[in-house]
Every structure is written in C-alpha cells, then in structure tokens.
C-alpha cells in the first residue's frame, strides 16, 4: 500500500549516470491554456510563518515558499530528480558530474524570469550560496553548502566544487527554492532579517504573492510569465493555516470547503469515516518516515564519568545479541500496523524501505513468541517465581520511553503484552514531545541522551538515505563530550558498518552505491540496532476533482505548477 506509484525500479539519476537515457515521465497535464481554473484552497493546520526558503524551519514554511520560489530540480514520487530551473539533470554521461566526483555542473533553463521581469541567471544561483553560507545570515540551509564552492561559468552554467568526492551531490539548490540576487543582495549577513522580500517573495514560481499574514494566510495569483507552457491552471491559490488536523480533514472530506488538507495526523478510522461523505479522498504519499524502537547498547543505569549511557560501558542485558533478537521477534509489527495505524502505517522490517532502489529483499517480518522464548532460554535467562526471567540475580526488566502520543502508547501496550509472554517485564514511559525532542542538556529524558533501554520515535529518510545511514557510524556516537549532538544514540559501533559507509560516501556508481546501502541496512537489521516497526507515509486529503502529483521526497507542493482540476 505504501508503494503507491513506485513503479520505476531504477531512478533517473541512476539510469542517467549509468549511461542510459532518462526515462522520467512528466506528470500527466491536460489543461490546454494558462489560468481559468478558479481558486485553489489549501488548508494547513500549521500556518506558514515565513516565506524565505533559506529560513524555513518546517515543511509548512517550505511548502508555502514553493508557490513562489523554485529549485534547480525537485524529487519526484519515485525519488528521481526532475529538472525545474535546470535545463537537465547533471550526470556522468552528459558530463555534468565529474568522473572524480569532486564537481558538478548545472546547466540552467534559459528565458526564465523573476516575478519582477528580471532574467534568472547563474549569478542568482551563486548568490544563494553566498547568502546561505554566511553564518550571519542565520540560514537553515548553511549545511547544504558545507565544503562547497559555487562558480558561475557563463550566464547559464554553474559549477559546484567539493573538497572531496561526493556520491550524493543533489543537496544544494535541490528541493529548496532559489531567491533572486537583485532583491536580496543588500540583505546578506546580519541584515538578512530586514529584507522586505522575506514577506513579499519575488521568485520564478507559478504564482505571485497577493498577501501574507504570518501563521495565518498566504494568498497568491497566477504568474502570467511562468516558464512552463499552459501552467499554472488555477487563477488564485490560498494556503490557510491554523486549527487542528481533525477539523482540517473535515473541511476537505466532509464539507469540501477546502480542496486539500496537509499532514493529517488523525486516526485512520476517523479518516475512513469522513471519506464516506464522498467529497474527497485520503492521499497516502510514500516517503521516508520510519517509526522504530532504538536499542541502547551502553549501560543507561550506571553513571560513569558523569554520564549514564556512557559509550565506554556495555548494556548488562541488551549487549547480548540473543536478547535483542528475542525483542525483535516479540515486536508484532503486523498487529501494530493493523490495529494502531491502519493505512497510515504499513509494517516494515527495513530501515530504508524507499526509494525502492534502496530496499533490501533480505529481511522479513516475523512475529514468533515461541522462538523468542527459546532464544532467551538459550541465553541463560530462567523464568522466575513471577514469570519474569532472571539471570545472575538480575531481572529481565527493560524501560521503553517514547513521547506522549496516542498511537505510540497503544504500540507500547501491544509490545508490553508480547514481552510478558516471553518473561520480559517492559516498563512503559511517556515523555512530552517538547522534552523528548529537545536538545536540553539538563534534562535526562531527551531522545539524544537515551538514558533508558529502549526508545520509540520516528526518523526521516531522505531521497538519498546517506545521511540517515551516517547516524549508525561509530564516530557519530552521542555522548557528553559532544553534548549529545551526534545522532548515533544507540551507541552501536561496528567496524564493518563504518567501512561500508565510508565506501558508499564516495561510490559514484549508483548501482554499487545502492548495494552498499542495502548491505548497511541488512547489518543494522541483523544486529537489531534498531527495530523498525511501521513506515509512516504522508497523509493528506484532497477533493475528488483535484488532479495532482505529490512526492514524499520533496515538498507536498513541489509540483504545484501541474495541479489542476479534472472533470
């Protein structure tokens, strides 16, 4: 069910680099002229607070910027790059990607205009680098340009130079809109906040701003000089923010007051009931979100050198692979998917499920209480008087922490029940999200500190899983020394894995790189470093007549220029 629309097994980027012609099919678009589509009304339960893509902290902001600003390329639903402001996607074959992997050349689409009529050139692209890379600008995009130099070769060509070979180069200028040099030039660095265009975007996108109230309403109207023919279809677009997810779903599915509602974190049962009104339907967009249980490999209950879960220590129970294996067998993914998440959470045994080219076929979903019991017997854990297993005077008791969130508490309850059948006492703990996800060094209950045995939350995987896989490398281990700012929270270390990651980071052959990533996925699954539970596709609702393409790898509005109404 998650794999909706994932039909192309290999990505265009891969094909192109492997010397095969690009096969990206453009989304079906029927309108024969620009405009005439009336109003498009989108409902976001969190309103956009700003319209500068370099400041956009969340998807709600990024989505709104995509009406006005466009990147060089966007990710399509299959995780392939599609050119937007670029003339073509760089590849080894077309010479865009250097054979040594240290530079990439982007060719820009000619005759593209900013909303104010000025031409879009390579100087604008370079400016985005200058602007974002300046720490005083306080751009959230600063890391995309790490160790990168951008040069304009001619008005329609830019080159990115990297310090070392880079397998995944499609981060800078992709998925995030570009801002015009002539408008933002005087607002680089510490003056960035004063730019009037932060609230009044001037971009190349299909729509131009009419009015903007931060956190509430974005109104836009058709751009008559848009660079794609017959687009856009709608005369006006409005993004209304605020309220809650349930009533947003209502406004689309039951009253059709709005055409589209974003990110409906609502129980599937409620959504199904609303769909019965027949006015709209729920859209499940496969992306890279994964709900999982993380396993602590260090000892969270003993303080060593001023910190619990010190990477130098070993977990007294969970460092035994047999126990981890038993815990994995006790996680009833199918039941959790069926009874807790419904359509919004298909069960998975993989860290990387999508894009399909990175999906491992070597894993499977197994739920087996008997086998778990045998493994625990084998590991020397004997049933005690009260049914809980004991070994060397230690009870088999584990603490599972997660955020306060209904589906997670239900999942915890299901897991606790099966653990009980195998003689494991699972203590459940729930922490408020603002504490759990905070970087607060003074709080022991944060996800990063991981001062307990097991933790459950969601991780995002991008169209390229590289940065997600990096979070399992030994140099990424979170500890007091790095203020728990590193992402390997399970403190797992494996030399084989490290070597695989380092190889994948510079492997330019996409087929070989995908193989390496699959091997890394299998290693994590075999060692039960994390226990994947369900994939979490993006859940949106739309009017029955609305025709559109949504990508789980990019902003929901990445292809807003193609949105139209059918019969």
């Amino acid at each position: 069910m998650v794999q909706v629309g994932v039909a192309v097994p290999l990505a265009a980027e891969m094909l192109a680099q492997a010397g095969i012609a690009q096969t990206t099919t453009p989304p079906a678009y029927s309108p024969a002229k620009r405009g005439g589509g009336g109003a498009l009304k989108l409902l976001y339960w969190q309103g956009a607070t700003l319209l500068n893509p370099h400041f956009a902290t969340g998807t709600k902001d990024l989505d709104a910027t995509r009406l006005f600003y466009e990147p060089l390329a966007s990710w399509d639903p299959d995780g392939n790059l599609v050119p937007i402001l670029a003339a073509e996607i760089p590849s080894l074959t077309n010479g865009g990607v250097a054979p040594d992997g240290k530079s990439v050349v982007w060719k820009l689409k000619p005759n593209v205009q900013w909303h104010d009529g000025k031409p879009f050139t390579s100087a604008d692209v370079v400016f985005n680098w200058v602007y974002a890379a300046n720490p005083d600008t306080a751009a959230v995009t600063i890391a995309e340009f790490k160790d990168t130099k951008v040069t304009a070769l001619d008005p329609l060509t830019v080159r990115l130079d990297f310090e070392k070979p880079r397998a995944f180069w499609a981060e800078a200028f992709v998925s995030r809109g570009l801002i015009p040099k002539h408008v933002f030039e005087n607002y680089t660095g510490s003056k960035s906040r004063e730019a009037p265009a932060n609230l009044k975007p001037v971009g190349t996108g299909p729509y131009r701003l009419t009015s903007f109230t931060p956190g509430d309403l974005v109104r836009a109207s058709l751009n008559p000089n848009y660079h794609q023919p017959n687009r856009p279809y709608f005369d006006t677009v409005e993004i209304k923010g605020g309220g809650d997810a349930v009533s947003a779903a209502r406004a689309v599915l039951q009253t059709a007051e709005y055409d589209y509602a974003w990110n409906l974190q609502v129980e599937d049962e409620i959504l199904t009931r609303m769909e019965k009104a027949g006015k709209g339907k729920v859209q499940l967009v496969a992306g890279g979100a994964l709900e999982f249980v993380a396993v602590q490999m260090a000892d969270p209950w003993t303080e060593v050198e001023g910190e619990r879960s010190n990477p130098k220590t070993k977990h007294p129970i969970l460092s035994d692979p047999l126990v981890r294996s038993a815990l994995n067998l006790l996680l009833d993914r199918s039941a959790i998917s069926q009874f807790v998440y419904g359509r919004t959470g298909p069960a998975t045994a993989n860290v990387v499920d999508n894009p399909v080219r990175f999906r491992s076929k070597n894993t499977k979903i197994v739920y087996d209480v008997d086998q778990a019991n045998r493994l625990l017997d084998q590991a020397g854990w004997k049933r005690g008087q009260d049914g809980v297993r004991v070994k060397d005077g230690r009870r088999l008791k584990l603490v599972l922490n997660t955020t306060v969130n209904q589906p997670r508490q239900k999942t915890q309850a299901i897991y606790k029940q099966s653990c009980q059948k195998a003689g494991i006492e699972l203590e459940l703990k729930a922490t408020t999200g603002s504490v759990f996800f905070s970087a607060d060094e003074g709080n022991p209950d944060t996800a990063d500190k991981f001062y307990c045995d097991l933790e459950m939350f969601t991780v995002m995987v991008g169209p390229d899983p590289g940065s997600t896989m990096q979070a399992f490398c030994s140099w990424e281990v979170a500890a007091k020394a790095n203020k728990w700012q590193r992402r390997n929270i399970g403190r797992w270390r494996n030399e084989e894995y490290d070597a695989l990651y380092l190889a994948s980071d510079v492997e330019l052959d996409p087929v070989k790189r995908a193989e390496l990533i699959i091997k890394m996925n299998d290693l994590i699954v075999q060692h039960h470093v994390i226990l994947p539970i369900v994939a979490r596709p993006m859940v949106n609702a739309s009017n029955n007549r609305l025709q559109f393409v949504e990508s789980g790898w990019d902003s929901s509005l990445a292809f807003i220029a193609d949105w139209h109404r059918g019969a």
Partner: protein, 322 residues
C-alpha cells in the same frame, strides 16, 4: 464630577512594578520550560544538529537567563518588542496584524452577550422563581459550565457538516469585495461570535439578575411604585440604572477573561487573532512572541482593573476615588 487625574497617575505608578513582576515570572517560566524553537530542524536528517545549535547561539538562546531577561527588558523599554524566531519579523508587527480581528470578534461577542444577558437578567429578576426565571437560570448554568470548545464543535457539526449552512474556517482576508465581503464576513463570524457570546451571556444573566433583585427590594423602588408609575418606567429608570452599576464594573473586570476564552475559540474556528498567535507561538517555542502576547494580556488586566474602578466612581457618586 472632577477628573480623577491624581488617582489615575497613582494607579499607573502602582501598575508598573506589577508589570515588571509579571514579566520576570513569565520570562523565568518560559526559560525553565522545555522546548526549543529550532527543534523542528532536528527531524530533518539533512540538517545536521550544528545548524540548530548555531541558530540558538546566533539568537542568544545560549546566554544565561538573567542576561537574556535584561536584554529583553532594555529593548522593551526602548519600544523594541523583539522579533519572532519562527517568522523572523517584529513581534509588535505580528500582534498589530492580529489585533483587529480579535477586537472585532470579541467586541461583537461582548455586545451580543450584553444584549442577551441584560434583558433576560432583568426580566428574570422581576419574576423571581417563575418558569421564565427557572429557564433563564438553567440556561445560565449550562452556558458557563459547558466549555467553549464543546459548544464550538457542536455548532460546527450541526451548521457546517449536517446542514452545510456556514463555513467553519474563518478568514480575515476575504477575496470578495463590496456587499459580498460583508455578507461573507458576517456568515463566517456567526459561529465564533455566538460561542463566545453564549458563554458570556450566561454570566451576565446571573450578575444582572442578582443585582436587579437587590435593587428591586429597596425603598426607592417601592416609593416609585407607590407613586403610581408604570411598571416599565419603574424597572427601566429606577431599577435598571442602579442595578447596572456593579454589572458595568464586572464587564470591565471580565475583559481579560474574555480574551482568555477567545484563545480556544480562535483555535477552533481558525480565527487569526492574537489568541491563535499565542497558541502557535507556544507550540513553536517562540519565546519573544509568547512574551509579547502575554504582556499585552497583562496590560489588559491592569487597564481593565483601573477602568473598572474609574467607572464605578463615575456611575456611583457615593464612591470617592482617592
């Protein structure tokens, strides 16, 4: 009546330390509460933790709380409310943008509440323990016991979903013009205004009834009746006027509570007022905006208190302001 200038000045001077105290407590609570305005960045695997850490450093969030407070206070004294971490624009601009909508919705709700509450209260007082009085009391108790979010949801279910008469998403910036604009605005305002008005009307009914009951027993009302005045004249001229004195001051005192109640209603109907601004700021851990909005609310409390005292003295010359 002389203008109580000295009284106002003295009260304002007393208010200043209270405001200062409120701001210290607010700032301390916000600083101690968990949460991080850039936490959302952490969910994106492509944005390393250093980016959020850099932004925290840049916006001075890593400094000790007293330093941050003094910085905020000094800026505030210069009229600089700071800027929102979420939208990076000035807090004062954000609040001014939202204030008109809140005032329109709350103002009309208050007027409607008084139009319902005062007549019902008076009429109930003239016929205590009659069937009408019983009904009015039941309505009043139901009114202030049922929370606004509940009445809001009921109205949405009935009028938007079942009957499909009214929209339940409020827009301050409607695309229509002319008469159509006012009609659309009126239609979308009906439900939020009704929800707030019913809640308020319930308490006004109770206040009005008890206040009128007290006045009705007084000698001057008996005298008026003995003079042979029409019942209507007695009620309007002799009862209502006197009974309104405590009610008017209560209305002034309750203004902050109305703003508080409006926060929930604004959230349900997506009314872009300062209440919904406060909620989204709290969810985003946007400290400068939370400080700004709560500061506006605390000023409102102090001003309404002062207003209540002034009104009381003006309406009832027996009370002297010193």
């Amino acid at each position: 009546v002389t203008f109580p200038g000295g009284f106002i000045l003295r009260r304002t001077l007393i208010a200043l330390p209270s405001l200062l105290g409120i701001s210290v407590i607010l700032f301390a609570v916000l600083a101690l509460a968990p949460g991080d305005p850039f936490a959302e960045l952490a969910s994106n695997p492509n944005i390393p933790p250093e980016v959020a850490a850099g932004l925290r450093e840049k916006f001075g969030l890593n400094d000790p709380v007293p330093v941050r407070y003094v910085r905020w206070l000094v800026a505030m004294l210069h009229g600089d409310w700071g800027f929102s971490f979420a939208s990076r624009i000035d807090v004062s601009a954000l609040i001014l943008q939202r204030l008109p909508t809140t005032l329109v919705v709350i103002g009309s709700a208050q007027v409607l509440a008084l139009l319902i509450g005062i007549p019902i209260g008076i009429y109930a007082a003239t016929r205590p323990y009659s069937l009408f009085d019983q009904l009015a009391n039941t309505f009043a108790f139901a009114g202030f016991s049922v929370p606004t979010f509940f009445t809001g949801l009921i109205l949405i279910l009935v009028f938007s979903i079942k009957l499909d008469w009214l929209p339940f998403v409020f827009r301050a910036d409607l695309p229509s013009t002319g008469a159509q604009f006012y009609w659309d605005y009126f239609k979308q305002a009906i439900m939020p205004v009704t929800v707030l008005a019913l809640f308020q009307a319930a308490s006004w009914t109770r206040y009005m009834r008890s206040s009128a009951l007290e006045v009705i027993r007084l000698d001057h009302v008996t005298t008026a009746r003995a003079k042979g005045l029409a019942e209507r004249t007695v009620i309007v001229k002799h009862v209502l006027r006197n009974a309104l004195i405590p009610v008017v001051t209560l209305v002034a005192l309750e203004i902050p509570a109305v703003f508080g109640g409006a926060i929930v209603t604004e959230q349900i109907f997506r009314v872009p007022g300062i209440g919904s601004l406060l909620i989204s700021a709290i969810l985003a851990n946007d400290t400068p905006v939370i400080m700004g909005v709560t500061f506006v609310f605390s000023c409102l409390v102090l001003i309404s208190n002062l207003l209540a005292d002034l009104l009381y003295g003006w309406l009832d010359p027996r009370i002297a302001l010193r």
